[in-house]
């Protein structure tokens, strides 16, 4: 009896040791290896897409603060807002005592937080592959690596569903996706461009122009896109731009404009990419 009890307590101690040793070690997108004794329980996210990814992986309860633009899922709205990534509030972040801070590269805040002993993980999401990779990184960070695959599969399923909803006669049609009225377009190399490809559409922008090239408005006119996509505010003014009333897409009203809440889904490289594809597909299906 005594020996069994002793053995049981030994096993329990071993199990406890195992749990404590289940630290996290992962490489972030700067190529820096990060060691954590245990999966973080207090997380700050400084990018809306990372906030969404973390929540999709079940990490929402561990968020203690976000940047001012994070607004989805609804749980994060009430969390402390710590500024934008370029003007984040160091003191408030440190006072929240996060185990880890999620940020994008090129933020000056990273150096400052690291000098104060706060661990920072840099995650870049620019393409579909990046999103898949960042989901894996974050799931690993949370100590639940098995959760990444289902989220990615859901995105893929929604993408497939969206592609099936696009009317066959629209396949191969050329899209101008405007991300800013300057005008900046989403090129085929961006995650938005990749989604368009998944939907069977072509892009008026050549891939060598980069992910989000600034175009001459004349380029759009010459390219005569079949479909225009953008924020409602921007596509609404397109017919009034000099010469743009000559665009066939304008004349035939082949325009998909999205209100801010829906447009936001389209421009965030995160777990709602599938939802974005469905939104696009529904708009395309409604075109005559």
């Amino acid at each position: 009896m005594r020996i069994t009890r002793w053995l049981v307590s030994l096993l329990l101690a071993l199990a406890a040791f195992q749990a404590a040793a289940a630290g996290v070690s992962l490489k972030d997108d700067r190529g820096r290896t990060l060691q954590l004794a245990a999966p973080p329980q207090r997380v700050v996210s400084l990018l809306p897409s990372l906030t969404e990814s973390l929540c999709a992986l079940g990490g929402c309860p561990r968020l203690v603060g976000t940047d001012r633009y994070s607004n989805s899922p609804p749980e994060v709205v009430a969390l402390p807002k710590l500024g934008g990534i370029d003007d984040a509030q160091v003191e408030r972040i440190v006072a929240l005592k996060p185990d880890v801070v999620l940020a994008a590269t090129s933020a000056r805040i990273i150096e400052r937080l690291e000098s104060l002993g706060v661990k920072v993980i840099v995650v870049e999401s620019k393409t579909h592959a990046d999103v898949q990779r960042s989901l894996n990184t974050l799931a690993q960070l949370l100590g639940t690596p098995e959760r990444a695959a289902p989220v990615w599969e859901r995105i893929q399923r929604e993408m497939g569903e969206a592609a099936a909803r696009v009317p066959p006669q629209l396949r191969g049609q050329r899209v101008y996706f405007e991300v800013d009225a300057s005008p900046y377009a989403a090129g085929p190399g961006s995650f938005i461009g990749e989604t368009l490809v998944r939907l069977g559409l072509a892009n008026i922008v050549a891939p060598e122009l980069g992910p989000f090239p600034k175009l001459n408005p004349e380029y759009v006119l010459r390219a005569q896109p079949d479909i225009l996509v953008g924020a409602q505010r921007n596509v609404g003014e397109m017919p009034g731009r000099p010469g743009w009333s000559a665009l066939r897409a304008v004349q035939r009203q082949r325009i998909c404009g999205f209100d801010p809440a829906h447009y936001e889904v389209l421009i965030r490289p995160g777990p709602r990419m599938g939802e974005a594809a469905l939104q696009l597909a529904d708009c395309l299906a409604a075109l005559r």
């Binding site: 003007d87 003191e91 440190v94 590269t105 090129s106 933020a107 000098s115 870049e124 600034k214």
Partner: protein, 335 residues
């Protein structure tokens, strides 16, 4: 020297010193949750007050002091009350360097080689901005073939400002991701200052202020005109060059740590001249005191006004400084 003027000058220095001390205390107590003197003794005090508020508060004063000094040097050098520290290409050079650092990743493989990109981003934004600021001034000096003609120097500075400004616009055009970062750099911010920044800035003040003090006689002579200065036996070209170096060093250090904070460099010497008209030596040193006090006051206000959010300190200095200049113009108009 009359007694009244001396009294005025002494009174200004004492006022500024007392104000600065009071503001340092305020800066330690002003936190993200607003006015919170209790936090000075809380369990988090070593981290929150010791590692964040203290270096930020001292850093804000030091940045302001460097800008005030640089402003006084610029106004003396060009004999123009509208001159400011950013006149000789330091601001545009620093901005270009920061934008390049921010855009490095996006441009890698497309417009610049991968090796260049990793060099740019590994240099860090602070070092990059400092080197950029010095590079901008150096370019100005090369274009004006030295500092012997102030008009040429001024014109070269304007040209360098425009050209380097266009270059950073070109970079953001290619890599729009860098736009936001650029905007915040141009607005200026004291919120990322740590002890390392304080050490660098402090060293800068310790080098620049005594150097400027020693050169004050040359600036005094310059106020009488170039000919009088030459007749006093001053080696003007060399002295001007050293003044430009002091200007570049002070501006570069300040800008690298906290971005392009507006108006402090322009307004500080004006305020000193208004309260205590004096020779250049006093003006230079007290402009530094004035600049430090101004920026620290703006920093404390920026933290308190909309707590727990924070105002960009550059917006406040521009509003306060611009308001002061307008008031000054208005008064002059009446008189």
């Amino acid at each position: 020297m009359n007694g009244h003027a001396r009294l005025l000058r002494r009174r200004l220095v004492v006022t500024l010193a007392v104000l600065a001390l009071a503001l340092v205390v305020a800066g330690l107590a002003a936190g993200s949750e607003g006015w919170s003197p209790a936090s000075l003794w809380g369990p988090d005090a070593p981290l929150i007050v010791g590692q964040i508020r203290a270096p930020r508060t001292l850093g804000a004063w030091l940045v302001g002091a460097l800008l005030g000094l640089a402003g006084a040097v610029a106004q003396g050098l060009f004999r123009n009350p509208l001159a400011d520290p950013y006149l000789l290409g330091a601001a545009s050079g620093a901005t270009l360097a920061v934008v390049l650092g921010l855009a490095a990743q996006a441009m890698a493989g497309h417009y610049i080689s991968l090796a260049t990109a990793s060099l740019l981003s590994s240099a860090g934004l602070v070092l990059g901005a400092f080197l950029g600021a010095l590079g901008g001034v150096l370019l100005t000096l090369l274009l004006s073939r030295g500092a012997q003609h102030t008009t040429r120097l001024l014109l070269a500075g304007v040209v360098v400002g425009v050209v380097l400004g266009a270059a950073s616009d070109l970079v953001t055009n290619v890599a729009p991701d860098a736009l936001r970062g650029k905007q915040w750099f141009m607005l200026g911010s004291t919120s990322f200052l740590g002890w390392q920044s304080v050490l660098l800035l402090g060293a800068g003040v310790l080098v620049c202020v005594p150097l400027a003090w020693r050169l004050a006689r040359a600036l005094d002579a310059l106020t009488l005109g170039t000919d009088s200065a030459l007749s006093l036996g001053l080696a003007l070209p060399r002295l001007r060059l050293v003044l430009v170096v002091v200007l570049a060093l002070a501006t570069g250090l300040a800008v690298a740590q906290s971005g392009l904070i507006a108006f402090v460099g322009l307004v500080a010497p004006h305020l000193v001249r208004r309260f205590a008209p004096s020779a250049q030596g006093y003006l230079l040193v007290v402009s530094a005191l004035m600049g430090g006090t101004l920026l620290l006051a703006a920093d404390v206000l920026a933290r308190l006004l909309i707590a727990p959010q924070e105002l960009p300190v550059g917006v406040l200095t521009a509003l306060l400084g611009g308001g002061y200049l307008l008031w000054l113009l208005h008064r002059r108009g009446i008189e």
